[in-house]
């Protein structure tokens, strides 16, 4: 146990070291007057374009100390959650339907392909018109992004269910409905989970991009406001907070995945007798 812990500790230390070096580099290059300017003609130009790490840090501390950020973060996370849940539900439902109905699938095929190849971010202004500047226009954008990831995975998942598994269930007396519940759905779910990291990430992107294009709250809105006043430190603070929460979301998804997918063998796991 001890032996395994040591290299892991070393890895963590090295990772923190890289972060530290980056911040030091950032500070050295941007602190006004610290080193003679070699690209910009004025000493405070670098700080103007790239911000300063200590100022960014204090903006973040201030956000959390005053509690100003919580409302915005809450809105962004709510949009992410709604976008993900609604998009995944639609993706699952329509994916199952099209995979099990060859005629419907053949009819819908060009439309699905068309929608998928469309850069869906361009829909954001339309959603803003349809759903207003509140959370629903962001949710709608998230839904369009999440839907296709989940849809294609479910479609593929159902199509690739082993024929043996279906024949076996039929021989054991499963009706069509029972086949759907105990073969197609769990099989599709495993593919949905495989795409979960992707889907949650896209829901987050949908929420932030939506906010950025027009909103009255949310972290994307904070960034937009700061950009309007050339407050680059606040922009970087927003980006860092978003990054931290994206990482946290990803970790949460990983935990959920591990809990729900116990039946799947892991690569490192040897077969037990």
């Amino acid at each position: 146990m001890l032996r395994r812990k040591r290299p892991e500790m070393r890895l963590r230390i090295l990772q923190v070291l890289v972060l530290g070096l980056l911040i030091v580099f950032w500070y050295l290059m941007t602190a006004p007057g610290l080193i003679p300017p070699f690209y910009f003609d004025k000493p405070n130009r670098a700080a103007f374009f790239f911000g300063e790490p200590q100022k960014v840090f204090w903006v973040i501390v201030d956000w959390f100390a005053t509690g100003e950020i919580f409302g915005h973060l809450g809105v962004t996370l709510l949009e992410t959650a709604l976008g993900f849940v609604i998009g995944a539900a639609f993706g699952l439902g329509i994916g199952l339907w099209l995979a099990l109905s060859p005629t419907a699938s053949a009819v819908m095929d060009p439309y699905i392909k068309g929608f998928n190849s469309m850069p869906r971010v361009v829909l954001a202004p339309i959603f803003a018109v349809w759903f207003g500047l509140g959370i629903w226009s962001k949710v709608a954008l998230g839904v369009t992004l999440v839907f296709f990831v989940v849809f294609f995975n479910v479609y593929q998942g159902v199509r690739e269910v082993s024929p043996n598994l279906i024949a076996n269930a039929r021989m054991l007396g499963a009706s069509r409905r029972q086949l759907l519940r105990s073969i197609y759905l769990p099989s599709a779910m495993s593919w949905v989970f495989a795409s979960l990291h992707n889907a949650v990430g896209l829901a987050f992107v949908g929420a932030v991009v939506g906010e950025y294009l027009g909103s009255a709250s949310g972290v994307g809105y904070l960034i937009l406001q700061a950009e309007g006043t050339f407050d680059i430190n606040t922009v970087f603070a927003g980006i860092l907070v978003l990054t931290a929460f994206a990482l946290a979301l990803d970790a949460a998804v990983g935990a959920v995945e591990r809990r729900l997918m116990t039946w799947q063998p892991r690569a490192s796991e040897t077969e037990k007798v």
Binding site: S162, N164, L165, A167, N168, A169, R170, M171, L172, G173, A174, S175, Q178, S182, I183, P186, S187, S190, T262, W263, Q264, P265, E271, K272, V273
Partner: protein, 274 residues
């Protein structure tokens, strides 16, 4: 017409044609095959690889509708449109366990589909796990079990419904020789308890003789048909590893192999040419 002395399974003049992949006309997998399995009889079907043995079994199971010919189950006509053969259990060659279900949930799947309350189903399931030697492994997932354990789980999954007919498609072909002989003995012991009718597909002649009452030899494909029907009068109960040494077994083996050999060579030549 339903009569009490009807055979458990009757395949009458079955022909199966499939559309060819390369468009060179239909491929006839099975041609004019007639096969009976009496009540309580253990029948093995042997034939060279790729001769359409599984096709025949799928027809018997009602999973595949033959191009022509009829299937009768205890005197009743089986129509693929009405669904599968409800009185048969099917053990597949490949793994057909649900990977997302634990051992016990796999075993009781059939009971669950039939609407048996979960408490009853689990009690029966545990009993079956004990019978196939998997007591205490009910909470393992299939991927946590060895190949032999998965086969036993599949056996319990099929037998828990106590089907009148057992269809088995090379169920043990993926196992190593020792595990395989253990499984064959276990199958015979379970079969001896209530003497189901069994249609057992294999390419292994020794396995066929040591398990069966009757061995049917199929010709090489395409257009497979039975070319020999041999009664196996070896005493029961049998031990599959010991019975292989007896002179009666060896004589039977020689006799059936003589009928099979030519077909095996034909199949081999056809595969080599392709």
């Amino acid at each position: 017409m339903v009569s009490n002395d009807a055979p458990a399974l009757t395949l009458a003049d079955i022909t199966c044609r499939f559309a060819a992949r390369d468009g060179s006309g239909p491929y006839t997998a099975v041609a004019n095959t007639t096969l009976n399995v009496a009540k309580g009889e253990f029948v093995s079907v042997v034939g060279p690889t790729g001769c359409g043995k599984s096709t025949l079994l799928n027809v018997a199971a009602g999973l595949l509708e033959p191009s022509s010919g009829t299937v009768h189950v205890f005197g009743e006509k089986l129509r693929a449109a009405d669904g599968v053969n409800r009185r048969a259990g099917y053990m597949f060659q490949a793994d057909a366990l649900m990977p997302w279900r634990t051992g016990i949930d796999n075993v009781i799947a059939g009971l669950e589909f039939r609407g048996v309350p979960r408490g009853d189903a689990v009690a029966q399931g545990e009993a079956w796990l004990r019978r196939v030697g998997l007591a205490g492994f009910g909470d393992r997932y299939p991927h946590q079990m060895s190949g032999g354990m998965r086969k036993r789980l599949a056996l319990a999954q099929t037998l828990i419904l106590s089907p009148d007919i057992l269809l088995m498609d090379e169920p043990f072909s993926a196992l190593d020789v020792q595990t395989r002989q253990l499984m064959e003995n276990e199958l015979l012991a379970l079969w001896a308890e209530d003497r189901k009718s069994v249609l057992f597909i294999t390419h292994d002649l020794e396995e066929a003789i040591s398990l069966s009452d009757r061995v049917v030899v199929l010709s090489a494909g395409p257009a497979t048909r039975p070319i020999g029907d041999f009664r196996v009068d070896l005493p029961r109960p049998r031990d599959v590893s010991e019975i292989r040494m007896t002179p009666a077994f060896l004589a039977l083996h020689r006799e059936i192999w003589a009928a099979m050999k030519e077909e095996v060579l034909k199949a081999y030549a056809a595969q080599k040419a392709a």
